[in-house]
Amino acid sequence: MPGLISLNGIAASHSVEIEGILAGIHGVNGSALWTSTMRPTTRKDDPPEDEQE
C-alpha cells in the first residue's frame, strides 16, 4: 500500500489539485476535468476452442 492518507490531510495539502478538479466540474477549464483520457478496458483475445473437444 503506497503510504497512509487521510481525507482531511488531502483536503489541506492538495488545494491546487482540488481547485483544478473543481474547475473541470464547473466548466472553467474542461481539460482539467481529468487530465488523462483512458481506454476503459483492455483484454486478451479468447483462447481458441480445442478442435478435439
Binding site: 492538495h14 466548466g27 476535468l33 481506454r39 476503459p40 483492455t42 483484454r43 483475445d45 479468447d46 483462447p47
Partner: protein, 489 residues
C-alpha cells in the same frame, strides 16, 4: 528519473493516483456543498463523507485504496460536470443505461447513494458504529471496499448501518456471518472472498467487485458461487509464486498495488483476461489455465494496470485527426481486430516483461515437454510482435514529450528482447503452440488439421488475414524471407 525506472520500478505513480482520487473526493464534496443541490442523496452523502473524514488514516487508506473508490469518484466528477452541461463519456452513458437514469442529475443521485458502501466498509473495519439517516438501498451482490467482505444475495437490500461490527438490514435484521446456518438463505448474507497468500502478500479473489454499473464487462460471471474461486485458488497461488520466483521485481510492485483478482471460466464474459483503466489494482483472468501461462497473464494484466497509473500522470499522445484512444483502425499482431494506437502501446509495454518471464523460465531450465515448447513459441513470437508494435507506433503515432520518452525506451527494450530471443536459440520455424479454452497447451494445426504450423507460419497467416490496410507489408516481406531460409530450420 530515467525512462527505464519510470517504466518499470518507480512507485510514486501509485501514491499519485491514490492522492488524486482522494483530492477528487474532496472536490466532489465541495462541489455538492456549493451547488445547493437539495435532493436527499446529496445531504446523505455529506453524512457518509464526514464519517470517512473522521476515520483513522489506516482505515481510510484501506477503503480508498480499493479499486472501486477510483471508479466511484471518477464517475461522480463526470456526473457533476454533466449536471452543468458537460457531455457524458462512454462509461457514464453505459452507467445511465444500466441503472435506468435519464441524464446526469438522476445518475448523480443514484451514484451518490452508492457512496454509502465506503462508509459501511469504514465502520466495519474500524469497529465504529454508523447508521444511515435513511437505509442504504442497493443491488446485490455488494463488495465492501477494502474488506474482502461481500453482502451477497439476489435483488436489492436496504442496509441500516453497522453496530458493534455487525451489518443491519431493514428486512432481515443482523446479517448472518459467513458459514452460519442462516447464510445459506437467498436473502442478504455475508460472504468472505477467498484469498491466496504468497510471501506474506494476501490477494483477494473477488468477482463481486466487478459488479458495477457502466463497467461493461461485469456480467453473469461476477455472480458465480465463490466456490469457483476456491476451486482454483491453489492454481492462482502457484502462478503468483511463479511470478515471485521468476520475476521478483514485478511481484514486489504487484503486492503493493493489486488488491483483487477475479477468476472466471474461459467461456464466460466474452474475453480471456481483462483490466480496466477505471479499476486500478484489479483484473480478471480465465481458468483453468497452464500455471506458467496464468503467471504470464498476471504479469501481463499487472502491467496494463501499471501503464494506466503512468498515464494518470500525463497523456501519451498528441491530439491527431484519428482518435488514439478509440480509433480502432490499425493492425495489431496480438489481436484479430484492428486496434487504436493506445492499445498498441499497451501491448508493447505489457509483452516486454512477459517475454522476460518466459526467458527466465527457459534459462533456469524449469520447463519440459509442451510447457517448454510453449515457452519457445512465446520467445520466438513476442519479439516479432513487439517489432511490429514499435513500427506501427512509429509510423502512425504522434507522441507527447512524456509519451515519446516512454516509447523510445520501449523501442530500445524491444531490441534487447530480440537479442534475448536470439541468445536462447529460438526459431520461427519451431512448432506453434497455443493455449486452448480448456486450459491445455496444444500444437497449432493447419486448417485441414493435416500438419502442425510453425510459429512463423501463424504470424504470417495473421498478417495475411488481419492486416486489412496493408500497413505491415515490409514486416511481411521480412517474415517471408526468414521462412524461406531453410538453413535456419
Amino acid at each position: 528519473m530515467n525512462p527505464s525506472q519510470l517504466l518499470w520500478t518507480d512507485t510514486s505513480c501509485y501514491r499519485y493516483r491514490l492522492e488524486k482520487s482522494a483530492a477528487a473526493l474532496v472536490a466532489v464534496q465541495r462541489s455538492l456543498a456549493t451547488e445547493n443541490l437539495q435532493f436527499a442523496e446529496a445531504l446523505e452523502f455529506r453524512g457518509s463523507y464526514e464519517f470517512l473524514s473522521r476515520s483513522h488514516p489506516n482505515v481510510f487508506t484501506r477503503v480508498w485504496n480499493d479499486p472501486v473508490a477510483y471508479y466511484w469518484v471518477r464517475r461522480a466528477v463526470h456526473f457533476l460536470a454533466g449536471c452543468r452541461g458537460a457531455p457524458l463519456g462512454t462509461i457514464e452513458q453505459a452507467y445511465c443505461k444500466d441503472v435506468g437514469a435519464n441524464g446526469s442529475v438522476e445518475a448523480l443521485r443514484i451514484h451518490l447513494n452508492e457512496f454509502k458502501r465506503f462508509a459501511l466498509a469504514s465502520a466495519l473495519i474500524s469497529g465504529e458504529n454508523f447508521t444511515f439517516a435513511t437505509p442504504f438501498e442497493t443491488s446485490l451482490p455488494l463488495s465492501l471496499p477494502g474488506t474482502g467482505v461481500v453482502i451477497a444475495g439476489d435483488g436489492r437490500a436496504a442496509i441500516r448501518g453497522v453496530t458493534d461490527g455487525r451489518i443491519e438490514t431493514s428486512a432481515q435484521g443482523w446479517l448472518a456471518p459467513p458459514g452460519s446456518a442462516d447464510s445459506s438463505s437467498a436473502g442478504p448474507f455475508l460472504e468472505i472472498c477467498p484469498t491466496v497468500e504468497v510471501d506474506g502478500f494476501a490477494l483477494s479473489l473477488n468477482p463481486r467487485l466487478f459488479n458495477l454499473a457502466g463497467l461493461g464487462f461485469g456480467g453473469g460471471w461476477t455472480m458465480l458461487p465463490l466456490e469457483f474461486q476456491k476451486q482454483h485458488s491453489k492454481l492462482a497461488a502457484e502462478a503468483l509464486a511463479a511470478v515471485a520466483r521468476f520475476q521478483p521485481s514485478t511481484f514486489a510492485l504487484f503486492a503493493q498495488t493489486v488488491r483483487a483478482v477475479a477468476l472466471k471460466p474461459p467461456r464466460e464474459g466474452g474475453f480471456g483476461s481483462i483490466s480496466s483503466s477505471e479499476l486500478p489494482g484489479a483484473f480478471v483472468c480465465s481458468v483453468p489455465c497452464d500455471v506458467y501461462e496464468l503467471a504470464a497473464t498476471f504479469i501481463h494484466e499487472f502491467h496494463h494496470n501499471r501503464l494506466f497509473y503512468l498515464e494518470e500522470q500525463g497523456s501519451f499522445f498528441e491530439p491527431l485527426e484519428e482518435d488514439a484512444i478509440e480509433g480502432e483502425i490499425h493492425y495489431s499482431p496480438w489481436r484479430d481486430t484492428p486496434r487504436p494506437l493506445h492499445g498498441l502501446l499497451h501491448a508493447l509495454y505489457v509483452y516486454i516483461p512477459v517475454l522476460r518471464f518466459w526467458g527466465a523460465l527457459v534459462r533456469q531450465q524449469v520447463l519440459a515437454g509442451m510447457q517448454l515448447a510453449y515457452a519457445h513459441d512465446q520467445l520466438a513470437r513476442i519479439p516479432f510482435q513487439l517489432r511490429i508494435g514499435v513500427n506501427q507506433l512509429r509510423r502512425h503515432a504522434k507522441f507527447t514529450s512524456y509519451g515519446s520518452t516512454l516509447f523510445e525506451q520501449l523501442a530500445i527494450e524491444t531490441s534487447d528482447a530480440e537479442s534475448e530471443a536470439r541468445s536462447l536459440g529460438v526459431s520461427l520455424h519451431a512448432p506453434a503452440i497455443s493455449l486452448r479454452a480448456n486450459g491445455v497447451l496444444r500444437p497449432v494445426l493447419a486448417p485441414d488439421g493435416a500438419r502442425p504450423l510453425s510459429i512463423g507460419e501463424t504470424l504470417r497467416n495473421h498478417l495475411e488475414s488481419r492486416d486489412l490496410r496493408g500497413e505491415c507489408t515490409r514486416e511481411k516481406r521480412l517474415l517471408d524471407r526468414t521462412l524461406s531460409d531453410t538453413s535456419a530450420r
